[in-house]
Symmetry: none
Subunit: 196 residues, 4 copies
DNA sequence: AATGAATGAGCCTTCATTCAT
DNA sequence: TATGAATGAAGGCTCATTCAT
């Protein structure tokens, strides 16, 4: 006997189609320039169906964001098993760079920063941040990092600065290799806390 | 040759009113949310007049941007006369922070990054950047900064990172004191090139 | 023959839940503003179920109306046993006033007047009217009312005028006590036929 | 030399076309059933033009209402010069009946009563009412009307009841002659204050 | 120089209703 | 009996822009 009904399965697929259509569109243009008609025609469903699954235009994108959150907490965090905290941090930001390169992300970050929707009022990077803070805390505890700044301050310093790089990269039309540049950049940032 | 005619003078005043109205509005809301009606009703002119002076909505904001460019080249640069390069850099970013706090700027920065108008495709901070590069170059030349990185690379490193901070500040609803934080932040960034 | 099957019983309950939900909603807003979603979520059934019982949105409200009709014929009429016709009429309109106050009624009256459904094209107050006509007829027959007007005319005069009051009361946002005002009003209307 | 510019004149005509189109539509259907597209296609202008003149759908109809107000204050009032107050009142309601017969009015009255727009929250008949109150007051002052009720109460009694009649007439699909019925009706209403 | 009437494509969203399961 | 996924016409409204005056 089937675990999930046929209907239920198809419903999930429909919602996914909508979700991926929105996500893909975000790779092409800004949130304001994406219309619901764009989304539904890409997903090949009716406009009524869109509103059956999402209460508002912003809602689809909010979904996108939740996926990102989950990725860092569940996928990236377990990968940070390198011997030194320095390496863990570099790995963390390597993931961040690759993640940002992933076609659809940069616009999403924009969106999350600038959305006027109450959903978005919390820090859109909180998922990531928590992961980084934990790493830094290990560095402080183990004496690998020596500083009077707190783990939160240090993690924030690094996050804020590297977001600046991602922005710059987007602004420059992604004209350089982000992961490479990220490494160069991080090595300089880390001079403040972990001189090589 | 005749001084400016009355007519010509009034024309300039009208254009200015339009320009300042747009600029002030930028302090309140995003570019996308500012309508031409907003602008003309603040400037108290007709819509026809608006289109007499600016070919398109983006044009007024472009004007705004040019003013910023000019400010850094003509006003800030001459102020950087402190004895050490370190102090000059800190002063430069202090201006940058105050400039960003100045009500109207943060949105403008966002606008400049996101505008789809061909005018904007160059680096919107080129005016500032040029000023900073010159300072860094003096540092390298005088031996105050020791690094194999070029002045462009170093200036870019600092600019990119501090833009990250401004973004963060905007994102956090300007909830902290930017100039103070900027100083804290710069002191850490400078560890890469100018350890205190 | 079997009592009602369990199935049949549940069906009736479901239909009732839908009916009462619609009725209650009518107390809050106009027919046009009530959506089927409102109804089903209040009744806690699915939209499919709604359409299983009612062919169209108007149908639920039609049901509501039939209940009102029934109320006057079966509940109010038997209560009109006062010694004088004058008192009976005042009692009748006292019921009418209270009935109109009863949360759900005013909107319903409006609905009945405005519905574009063919079902509603007859006089929505015919149930009440028949009761009042009978009373007035007794008044004429017993000589308590002296007039060349027919019972229908007199009853209609009173009904039409008092509906005017109910409308006024609704318009004024139910800001006064309807039963009290109804009595004041009726005393003046009755000057035409039953001077105190 | 022309008093009004050509443009200004044409603008007025356009607004009028819109206004009359809306008004005429009201004779055919209910407010809710009239779309802005109905109005503009009848007036033969663009939708942008509609919104140039009226901020909202309700606004056109609000205009209609103001016209009615003005009519009673400026046209009807001066006509009430009959020798007795009784005749003045009958004349007043004769105007009211004819005015209501005027194709476009009945729906308008509905609209005014039921609109959810703040504009309409005051008594939509205040224009008329004021005229009637003045007449009744003269009746009280001259002793033609003897009552302990105030002029406001008496006028209200009459207005409320006769609105009931207009509603009834609309409900009955205008199937009888309103002015005639109004007179019959008024004669009975006046028994409370001005027995013939 | 200045005005503002006119445009209309296009936006987001609502909602009654159908039908396969 | 009961469900809820899917539909799409239609609605009110915004806004940058043009052009005759």
């Amino acid at each position: 006997m089937p675990e999930k009904g046929k209907r239920q399965l198809q419903a999930e697929q429909t919602k996914d189609r909508l979700f991926y259509a929105a996500d893909a569109l975000l790779a092409e243009k800004d949130y304001e320039d994406i219309t619901i008609r764009d989304i539904i025609s890409k997903a090949d469903v009716s406009i009524g169906t869109f509103y059956h699954y999402f209460k508002t235009k912003l809602d689809v994108f909010y979904e996108t964001y939740r996926v990102a959150d989950h990725y860092f907490a569940e996928v990236v965090a377990p990968e940070l098993t390198q011997p030194t905290v320095r390496e863990q941090i570099l790995t963390f930001f390597d993931y961040y760079a690759h993640y940002s390169c992933d076609q659809t992300q940069p616009r999403l970050i924009y969106l999350l920063y600038n959305a006027r929707n109450p959903h978005f009022n919390r820090d859109p990077h909180s998922g990531m941040s928590r992961v980084l803070i934990a790493v830094v805390q290990r560095g402080l505890d183990s004496g690998q990092i020596r500083s009077t700044d707190t783990a939160e301050q240090i993690a924030s310093f690094l996050m804020v600065a590297s977001r600046g790089l991602v922005y710059n990269w987007v602004t420059m039309d992604r004209s350089y290799d982000l992961p490479n540049m990220m490494r160069w950049y991080l090595e300089r940032l880390l001079m403040a806390y972990l001189p090589a």
